[in-house]
């Protein structure tokens, strides 16, 4: 019997194909399957348009979709930005102050159990149908995971590291700066990624309730016209926006948390 610790021929051949090609191949195969299913399965395009028809609709309505996309993107970014600006300091305050932990935190958890879409009509009554109300709904849905993950991250510092910092004469702010905050970053990025997808949901919910522009609005209009291709084109656009947003945050995470990535370029793993 021959024992070997070096990679076998089969291992090396497998290593030659980059991993992302597998993912792309899977998506392409699924799309082709969908196309064939609609074309040869005699499915009404009113119910399910083929990928090619969706793409054509997207090209035909390009400027309209782009305009609506910019509107929705603004709502998402504004809502998400607000969630970060409010969520991070609030999370820090909850860890920092016992009073905040005992007063603010239970209220937050209570508020979180309210289904946010149910609040959307009220928010629109209060603020109007413009950009601000959509951003606020996106904010309301997105900010909770940021707060929770900030709290978890800040609390997760090893007790010895805190003792150590105090033996160096660190004051409370230095403990946050040198220990708690950097230690919390992986958890905070986890919260940001969840929040990024929720912000998209929030903006669309807001547009569904009342709007005169945006991708969610366009979905409703196209649906009313029985233009299923355009509905799907909008959904595709929303998906693309969500993906780009998510991976932008993941890219930032890889940059900030570079110490988690090993030198040979293999990531921290998913």
């Amino acid at each position: 019997m021959k024992l070997s610790l070096t990679p076998t021929d089969a291992d090396e051949r497998r290593l030659e194909i980059p991993g992302y090609l597998y993912s792309i191949a899977a998506v392409v195969a699924l799309t082709l399957l969908w196309e064939a299913f609609v074309r040869y399965g005699a499915i009404s395009p009113l119910l399910l348009p083929a990928p090619s028809q969706i793409l054509l609709s997207m090209i035909k309505n390009f400027s309209l979709i782009m305009y609506m996309s910019v509107v929705t993107l603004l709502e998402i970014l504004l809502g998400f930005g607000l969630a970060v600006v409010v969520g991070l300091p609030l999370g820090a305050l909850i860890v920092f102050s016992r009073v905040a932990r005992l007063t603010v935190y239970p209220i937050l958890v209570g508020l979180q159990t309210i289904p946010k879409p149910a609040l959307a009509p009220i928010i629109i009554v209060w603020i109007g149908t413009g950009l601000t109300s959509k951003a606020l709904i996106a904010f309301a849905i997105a900010f909770f995971p940021i707060v929770v993950d900030t709290v978890i991250g800040l609390k997760s510092a090893q007790i010895e590291t805190i003792y150590l910092a105090r033996s160096m004469g660190a004051n409370i702010f230095q403990i946050y700066r040198y220990i708690r905050f950097p230690n919390a970053l992986p958890a905070i990025f986890g919260g940001l990624k969840v929040a990024s997808t929720l912000a998209v949901v929030g903006a669309i919910v807001g547009e569904f309730v009342s709007a005169d522009k945006g991708l969610g609005y366009l979905v409703l209009v196209a649906n009313g016209d029985l233009d299923t291709k355009l509905v799907f084109a909008c959904v595709l656009m929303l998906t693309l926006m969500g993906l780009v947003f998510y991976y932008a945050i993941e890219g930032l995470e890889a940059l900030v948390l570079h110490w988690r990535v090993s030198d040979d370029g293999t990531g921290s793993g998913h």
């Binding site: 090893q158 010895e160 590291t161 003792y163 150590l164 910092a165 105090r166 033996s167 160096m168 004469g169 660190a170 230095q174 040198y178 220990i179 950097p182 230690n183 970053l185 948390l257 110490w259 988690r260 090993s262």
Partner: protein, 272 residues
Amino acid sequence: MLAPAQPGVLPATVPLLTMRDVGKTYNIRGKRTSAVDNLSLDVAPGEFVSIVGPSGCGKSTLMMMASGLIHSSSGEIHIKQSRITAPHVDIGIVFQRDALLDWRTVLENILLQIDVRRLKRGDYRERAVAMLASVGLAGFENAYPRELSGGMRQRVSLCRALIHNPSLILMDEPFGALDAMTREQMNLDLQKLWIQNKTTMLFITHSIWESVFLSDRVIIMSPRPGRIAAEIQIDLPRPRKLAVRESAEFGAYSAKIREKFQSFGLLAEDDQ
């Protein structure tokens, strides 16, 4: 090589660390439990003192009180004749867990001492690099902790405890989580660093042979509530080699400590 530590202005006859009638009680589920009781201890400047005792005898509590990180319930603790009521900063601490910061390189982890103390990094960088080299970690300055083995990580935390030339080093089971071979190497490395720096050491361990090998004096604590049960002066020439453990004197010291443990009903040997 490393600059020798300032032994301080104290004459050698004045203890660097003094604990007088120190006690610590905790409230555990409404019940007052005494962890350390009426304990008095002096450690001379430059002395290497080990504390051995059974689990839960309050060794760690003792160390935390000496550092000022937790308050004693009774008694007084002095370092260099000033009373400790808040975290004392003229010390270095090594815990059983290395407590390295994952996001800092090896060098930056050592320089955390310097950053927090608002000293100039430039003044200490060279010393940090030299210390790393003296514990066999030359070339690892820019590595991240996750790239190091347990023994290497603990060496880094050793350097971090020494970089600012503290007058007292506190170590709580620093090698407890390491494998036997690495542990022996760490004992040799620690001895080397200590001979170079002559910093006062308070070293907490479970290991009888480790305490005899490293110390000028071994203090044996009783089971909870922790008190000093016995003190043994170790008169073996330095630097000590691992083979010293096979000598008759070493055996006699170890036996004395073991007998003390057995008098507490620990390390019970049945007639087999």
